[in-house]
């Protein structure tokens, strides 16, 4: 048996750290993202607030304060989860660079997913926290008083970020068969935002659409973490959310693993 490497020298730990640190190199880009995020947040917050108000102060279990929490936590997560469908893997398959990845003595799946998770975790600092602060300061967002909401919320958040990037990786492997998988990314993007709860809470959907959404991993990326983190769902409900997320993480990782193995045999690098 191989001896365990200390974390600082473990290659997978280094991928996570590299992703985290890589993002910190572009402060202007980060600020720009925050400005765009906040503008959308104010727009979304006012229309959702008005929707709650016109329904007599409560809409699908949301009050004005918890709806604001939904809006701003969701905006804060946007820098950490990937809902637009494009990925590094997709670009590297198209250019043929992925052949080099396969030569390295590390798992292609683990290195890509961990780098992206590292980027996502960094996103919480310059985009996640400020969004929450803006939400509390001007959005009328209510923070949960129960400390367990924060503890469970944090786990749910990490699971959500991991699911998002593991799923994007699995979708990116479609490139082994298609080479140009931009079309796939476009379809992914159109569904992911709606079903993740980026625009409205999924509980506002008519029943058939809600059922359809719950059959996909998308709610686990944003709606469920936001539910737990905002204290909208507590106790047994929160644990159930975590269980659903753990299941989806296992599924998308397994799919990514299988498609990588099958795709590796299909891979055809064009050109010299």
């Amino acid at each position: 048996m191989r001896p365990l490497t200390p974390p600082a020298r473990n290659p997978y730990w280094r991928f996570l750290v590299a992703g985290f640190r890589g993002q910190s190199a572009y402060p202007l880009a980060t600020l720009a993202g925050l400005v765009a995020n906040a503008t959308f947040g104010v727009l979304k917050g006012s229309i959702m607030g008005a929707a709650v108000e016109s329904s007599g102060g409560e809409l699908a279990g949301y009050t004005a304060g918890s709806m604001a929490a939904f809006v701003w936590l969701g905006q804060g997560l946007l820098g950490s989860v990937n809902l637009w469908g494009g990925s590094d893997l997709q670009t590297r398959i198209k250019s043929g660079d992925v052949a080099v990845d396969f030569l390295r003595p590390v798992s292609v799946q683990a290195s890509h997913v961990l780098t992206d998770v590292g980027k996502g975790l960094f996103g919480l600092l310059p985009r996640g926290l400020p969004s929450v602060l803006i939400g509390v300061a001007i959005g009328g967002m209510v923070l949960p008083s129960d400390p367990s909401a924060y503890a469970l919320g944090l786990i749910s958040l990490l699971l959500g970020i991991a699911i998002s990037h593991a799923c994007i990786y699995a979708v990116g492997t479609a490139g082994f068969w298609l080479v140009e998988s931009r079309g796939v990314a476009v379809f992914y993007m159109s569904f992911s935002g709606l079903f993740a709860g980026l625009y409205t809470p999924i509980y506002l959907f008519p029943d058939w659409l809600l059922t359809l959404a719950l059959l996909t991993p998308f709610p686990s990326m944003m709606q469920l973490p936001v539910d737990v983190l905002s204290g909208q769902v507590t106790g047994a409900g929160a644990w159930q959310h975590l269980g659903v997320q753990a299941l989806w993480l296992a599924i998308v990782l397994a799919v990514g693993h299988l498609t990588t193995r099958a795709g590796r045999r299909r891979l055809e690098v064009q050109g010299g």
């Binding site: 503008t39 959308f40 709606l194 506002l204």
Partner: protein, 278 residues
């Protein structure tokens, strides 16, 4: 026969012919990859449908928001989405400016005897964006059928005016954003706040906005004039409290202002540009 003088009608016609030739060649090249083109068209249509889906979900869950029902907001969404999609078709490619600046390919544009902005606009015409126009047009049509509209010459005039002005406003915002890109480069995403944020804002009733949003999207980036204000004039619906009902007729003023801002931003940005040093 000598070269027609700059600014003369003959010169203008010649330039126009050159643009037409460039745009037509881009269109032909895209339509020739049939499978990929069809998938792109369907994809764009799909994204538009999902965007309408958000509005449908929200307005179905409540009776009205900001005094507007689903049928009424369909008019607003249809008008603004159609105007935005047309603007995106013509000027959406301005979004790629930071890529050209970073790669140094923009320098080539300065060597050719055509305005840089015109080259940027024609450098890629994304025909797939036509798919988007269909969603807006359909929503607008259904909205016109569902609402009780008093059809007069004025009604038609107001609709045409709103669509034309909306198109000009959104196109101007793409150009304003492009001008700012010369300064931002890595911070390109900042302009999304008013270009795509503006598209989102244009589908909302400003009656729900706080004062700060009214200033940003009613005055500075006047997207409220692209659809909501003309529609509330058309329907005689409650617009924004404290503002007159005929405000929808003022869309051309907003469009002129947007064009002025765009011209300033573009000139300023172009003067700031010093090349990538290639």
């Amino acid at each position: 026969m000598g070269e027609p003088e700059a600014g003369s009608p003959a010169r203008g016609r010649q330039t126009l012919r050159a643009y037409r030739a460039v745009v037509a060649s881009r269109a032909r090249s895209q339509a020739s990859h049939r499978a990929s083109f069809r998938m792109d068209l369907v994809g764009a249509l799909f994204v538009g449908l999902i965007e309408f889906g958000e509005i449908w979900v929200l307005y179905s869950a409540t009776d009205q928001i900001g005094g507007f029902t689903l049928a009424q907001i369909m008019l607003v969404f249809g008008l603004s989405d159609l105007a935005f999609s047309l603007a995106d078709l013509v000027a959406g490619h301005c979004d790629n400016l930071p890529v050209y600046v970073r790669a140094g390919t923009l320098d080539v544009f300065f060597l050719r005897p055509q305005p840089v902005l015109a080259q940027l606009v024609t450098s890629d015409l994304s025909l797939r964006r036509i798919g988007r126009c269909l969603v807006g047009a359909t929503s607008l049509t259904v909205g016109l059928v569902l609402n009780d509209i008093d059809w007069t010459v004025g009604t038609v005039g107001l609709l045409v005016l709103a669509l034309a002005c909306g198109f000009v406003i959104f196109t101007a915002q793409f150009v304003t954003a492009a001008g700012l890109q010369f300064f931002l480069v890595n911070g390109a995403e900042m302009t999304n706040a008013f270009v795509y944020g503006g598209r989102y804002a244009a589908t909302q009733p400003p009656s729900v906005w706080p004062r700060s949003l009214l200033v940003v999207f009613g005055v500075i980036f006047p997207v409220a004039f692209a659809a909501f204000l003309p529609v509330s004039t058309l329907l005689g619906a409650p617009g924004v409290a404290g503002l007159p009902g005929w405000l929808g007729w003022c869309a051309p003023v907003a469009a002129l202002w947007a064009v002025g801002v765009a011209a300033l931003s573009w000139r300023w940005g172009l003067r700031h540009y010093r090349g990538a040093g290639g």
